[in-house]
Subunit: 279 residues, 2 copies
DNA sequence: CGAGGAGTTGAGGCTAGTCAAGGCCCGTGG
DNA sequence: CCACGGGCCTTGACTAGCCTCAACTCCTCG
């Protein structure tokens, strides 16, 4: 209903979206290389499987929520955010995806995308039709294993989201977000210490369930505590152990996490004389 | 133990809730009947597939986080909670599962359970070994479709969790939780208006990301607004439309999507005067 | 050069967390 | 049998933390 309306509102983009764009460079081989899957030559040479390459500009949708799923995508270059739009337009960000990750797998079994995916920068994906996906799984067992590993990760996403949005302080949520991001960078062979955030503060705010100003303040707090160095979207983790300790802390327990001379001026203490708020 | 006791306290409601529901002769036929899958007789007669029946007492684990997954489970009778335990012992509740739902599917592809599952009342599950699961899918296509539908739902879980834990007021979160629960009751052919909650306030609190006292207050608020009648764990939805309107409201909004106005304000506040809650 | 978005920071009000007390119900043990 | 202890739930009081609004800077883009 609303989703159709939203889809209709962007005809120009849809035209671009649906353009053939032809199977580019290497096709199947490039996809398997991206996933780190070694494949027998005969599997590559056998025809019938089409791997399309699609470029998506920053801020454009890879696909819209509610759209019929015609392909499964693998991020080759770039970063995406996965989100759900409420009826009143509020964007709930569900996660961010980078190189090697699968997009739209959650539509494979229902046929309809339950979420929208938007590029955060100019990006490239490989697109594979469901039938070709099945065929590739049959021909390359290692690919099937990679896909199943990815499926496990998708299923585990709810734990990640719950941990990020749990009832803990904003600084802890941000710390958990950064730790998670850092871990994934490490998995991808990139530096887990220096990161360039592709998403806005607002996107992070939606993802961890706080206001975007609070994200900003939490970055400042983590920096003051010596965990981070922050310069706009460039983040360097200075003290990984302290950051992880912060990410581990919950609200129920005493402030055991930032005991180390973190707070230069305890703002809360200064504000203690805030008269009364009695009814 | 305590759950048993509590269940005993509401005999009239339990009689309604726990109505016979197919006394389950055991085996494959019972499992397929549970899922509403019609199967050819020959598929049932052919041996080789073992469907075990397992009883789990209230407050006991069906399986533990980190355990190797040896079977996939289908809830035949009862209710479970799915949770993740943090290092400091904090229980993050990820969801609740009732009759007909699958438990432990997220371990199928990794071999290890990423979450724990605990019975909220004395319950019964069907257990199926992975190999038998595959075989049953092969023999009964309708079962495979049912399983794929379930997989879609599991993948969509992160959207549900994000909506429940998003940055909105506690009353809205609780309303969303109840609407979701009501919808699932309706799907199962049970009354979507009168519900007996099998989980404690604390479990709900963890699930929607607030303190358990706040859950209590939010129940009271929804009752005062005329949405609900609440008596301990017995909940009756008096005004479904108002409850859903409350569930829809959000606290913030992105200036991105709606080019026009139509700000839905912040709170569903105009619903105030409602004499009493007892119906 | 102005417009506008992204990010930061401050001030203040309000939500919800925390602590506490009390009611209710049960199981245990005297 | 009853007293006791301990869960669960509710409600009240207090207040810490976060949301909101607002101002300002920086940067990009037309």
């Amino acid at each position: 209903m609303t989703n159709e309306a939203i889809a209709m509102r962007v005809p120009a983009m849809d035209a671009w979206y649906l353009r053939p764009q032809a199977a580019a460079p290497s096709g199947v081989a490039a996809l398997l290389a991206l996933l780190g899957v070694a494949a027998p030559v005969e599997a590559l040479l056998a025809g019938g499987i089409t791997v399309a390459t699609r470029r998506v500009r920053a801020c454009q949708n890879l696909f819209h929520e509610g759209a019929r799923a015609e392909a499964i995508h693998f991020v080759a270059v770039g970063t995406f955010k996965c989100l759900h739009v409420a009826e009143d337009g509020y964007e709930q960000v569900l996660g961010f995806n980078g190189r090697g990750e699968v997009l739209g797998y959650d539509a494979m079994f229902s046929g309809v995308h339950p979420t929208s995916v938007v590029a955060l920068e100019d990006s490239t994906v490989f697109a594979l039709a469901p039938a070709d996906l099945t065929e590739l799984c049959r021909r390359v067992p290692a690919f099937e294993r990679a896909l199943q590993r990815e499926l496990s990760r998708q299923l585990a996403q709810r734990v990640v989201i719950a941990n990020l949005m749990a009832a803990v302080s904003a600084e802890v949520r941000l710390a958990r977000f950064l730790v998670h991001l850092s871990d994934r960078m490490a998995e991808n062979g990139q530096s887990p210490r220096r990161m360039l955030l592709r998403m806005s503060r607002r996107d992070i705010a939606s993802h961890i369930g706080v206001a975007h100003e609070t994200v900003s303040r939490s970055f400042s707090a983590l920096a003051q505590w010596g965990c981070l160095a922050v310069c706009n979207r460039e983040v360097e983790i200075l003290d990984s152990e302290r950051l992880r300790a912060c990410a581990r802390s919950t609200r129920g327990l005493t402030t055991d996490t930032p005991p180390t001379r973190g707070r230069p001026t305890l703002r809360a203490a200064q504000l203690s004389d805030s008269s009364r708020c009695a009814a």
